[in-house]
């Protein structure tokens, strides 16, 4: 579903991604890990069309991102560090606005569905600024799946969440049918990343340096590779 070939991204003289190759099959839930500054968010931004590659190619379902970015955006939902929401609008107003931007048919019914899925039913008319961080993150997930995208990009979705809310993230993602979607999630939380994903990648020196299926590896082995990478 997602093919990345020889992807290079440089910010001035600093090269973040150095010829990265990656294949993601439909329905896979991938956990992407790496040290701070390894390029996880950069990769997410390029796949989500927010950033442009310096060189290389990203294909989604056989379509080159650099040629049809506007079209491909319909197929992608992104949950990032920021909520991408308007604080002064209610949850319902936020979702209605994004429903218009994505041409979601029968928006009211879809909004009610996703609000219930993320457990915000009853609070949907309250301004977002009155929400706790955990509730805002739930709403951010609702916004990302509003147009029912087959690809979901989660860039450290547990950032800023308390332990309880972060633990609930797995249940929440299951509630929004991530099992049917292709998911790429970045995380610094090893246990959570391994419990959610069925394939684990570690970014090293601007490339995928470690790529293993979840069932083929123990948490100790991943921890050892990950912490060695962090020490460098």
């Amino acid at each position: 579903m997602i093919k990345v070939r020889k992807l290079v991204k440089a910010f001035g003289s600093r090269i973040v991604l150095r010829g990265l190759n990656l294949d993601i099959a439909p329905g896979e839930f991938i956990t992407l890990m790496g040290a701070n500054g390894a390029g996880k968010t950069t990769l997410m931004n390029i796949i989500s069309t927010l950033g442009k590659a310096t060189a290389g190619q990203v294909m989604i379902s056989g379509i080159d991102l650099s040629e049809s970015a506007a079209h491909i955006r319909r197929y992608i939902g992104l949950v990032s560090h920021k909520t991408l929401l308007y604080d002064d609008l209610s949850a319902e107003q936020n979702l209605r606005f994004y429903a218009k931007m994505y041409d979601v048919p029968q928006p009211q019914a879809r909004i009610e569905t996703v609000v219930q899925q993320v457990g915000l039913w009853g609070r949907q008319k309250d301004p977002v600024r009155t929400y706790s961080r955990g509730m805002q993150q739930r709403l951010a997930i609702a916004r990302a799946i509003l147009h029912n995208p087959p690809i979901l990009l989660l860039d450290e979705p547990d950032t800023g969440l308390d332990q309880y809310a972060a633990d609930m993230l797995g249940d929440l993602l299951a509630a929004v049918d991530t099992g049917k979607r292709t998911v790429l999630m970045t995380s610094h939380n090893l246990e959570r990343g391994l419990s959610l994903g069925n394939r684990v990648l570690i970014l090293m020196n601007g490339k995928i340096g470690y790529d293993v299926r979840r069932e083929d590896v123990s948490i100790e082995e991943v921890r050892q590779v990950y912490f060695e990478q962090l020490k460098r």
């Binding site: 579903m1 439909p26 329905g27 931004n45 989500s48 069309t49 927010l50 950033g51 442009k52 379902s61 056989g62 379509i63 049809s68 506007a70 079209h71 491909i72 955006r73 319909r74 197929y75 992608i76 992104l78 990032s80 560090h81 920021k82 909520t83 991408l84 929401l85 308007y86 604080d87 002064d88 609008l89 107003q93 606005f97 994004y98 218009k100 931007m101 994505y102 041409d103 979601v104 048919p105 879809r110 301004p127 916004r143 509003l146 147009h147 029912n148 995208p149 087959p150 690809i151 049918d177 049917k180 979607r181 292709t182």
Partner: protein, 251 residues
């Protein structure tokens, strides 16, 4: 494009019935999204009223202060009035433009907009129309006060409104672009007026000259050149902003 994931297709696919003209639908979709952005901005502003109240108070203060600062008599009112009006509009408008993209930046909602399957120019036009409406709302209040304070004839109102509309379009057109440009800079509040005012000199100059001509009761032929200049700059600025906006908001 058909996604490989069998069970999940974007909700959007159901919106393309075979019977409708796809080109027509795309065109309607474009305006629909422009209106969605305008409507969102108005709804957010109606909730807080932060921007409009600041613009109102500032523009009223400018009119009041100039009214008392200068010794306004009938013989010098027509000389000073156009400048006072456009200083009030430009500076109040600057407050609005400064806030225009701030609300998009705070929670990363600009990225949310950029992720949507919509042409970047629709985002520009949505923000531009919103800015024009906010500035126009302030103008609706200050124009009657301006007429009263400067003891001007109400006969000039239709022509004055026309000039104010043209001036506002030029100001907001380029202002929206610059507002998006400075959003990621640290000194954006300072940078916006420094960048914007030199560029909009032709718009402000022709608007002031036209306003003076209207107050002095000059025939259209005498101010035709300024009117042409104002319209030309409106069109040029809009075209440039339309072309550049995509490059400004993208990485």
């Amino acid at each position: 494009m058909k996604p490989e994931t069998q069970n999940l297709k974007p909700e959007t696919q159901n919106l393309k019935p075979e019977t409708r003209n796809p080109k027509l639908e795309t065109r309607f979709g474009y305006f629909y999204k422009v209106l969605a952005i305008v409507s969102k901005d108005i709804t957010a502003e109606l909730r807080t009223k932060e921007m409009m109240s600041a613009m109102f108070v500032f523009s009223l203060l400018v009119i009041f202060i100039f009214n008392f600062a200068f010794d306004l008599r009938a013989e010098n009112a027509s000389t000073l009035a156009p400048g006072v009006l456009w200083v009030a509009i430009a500076f109040a408008g600057m407050l609005g433009l400064g806030r225009s993209f701030i609300i998009e930046r705070d929670r990363g909602s600009l990225e949310g907009l950029l992720l949507a399957p919509v042409d970047r120019s629709a985002i520009y036009f949505g923000k531009f129309i919103g800015n024009v409406l906010f500035i126009a709302t302030v103008e609706i209040v200050i124009l009657p006060l301006f007429i009263v304070f400067f003891n001007l004839s109400i006969v000039i109102i239709p022509a004055l409104v026309g000039v104010v509309i043209l001036g506002t379009i030029g100001f907001a057109g380029v202002g929206t672009l610059f507002s998006a440009m400075v959003i990621h800079t640290r000194a954006r509040d300072v940078l916006l007026p420094i960048l914007l005012f030199p560029v909009i000199v032709p718009v402000l100059l022709s608007a002031v000259r036209l306003t003076a001509g209207i107050i002095d009761g000059l025939p259209l032929a005498d101010v035709q050149n300024w009117l042409t200049l104002l319209i030309a700059f409106d069109l040029i600025f809009m075209a440039i902003a339309f072309i550049l906006f995509e490059h400004v908001v993208e990485e």
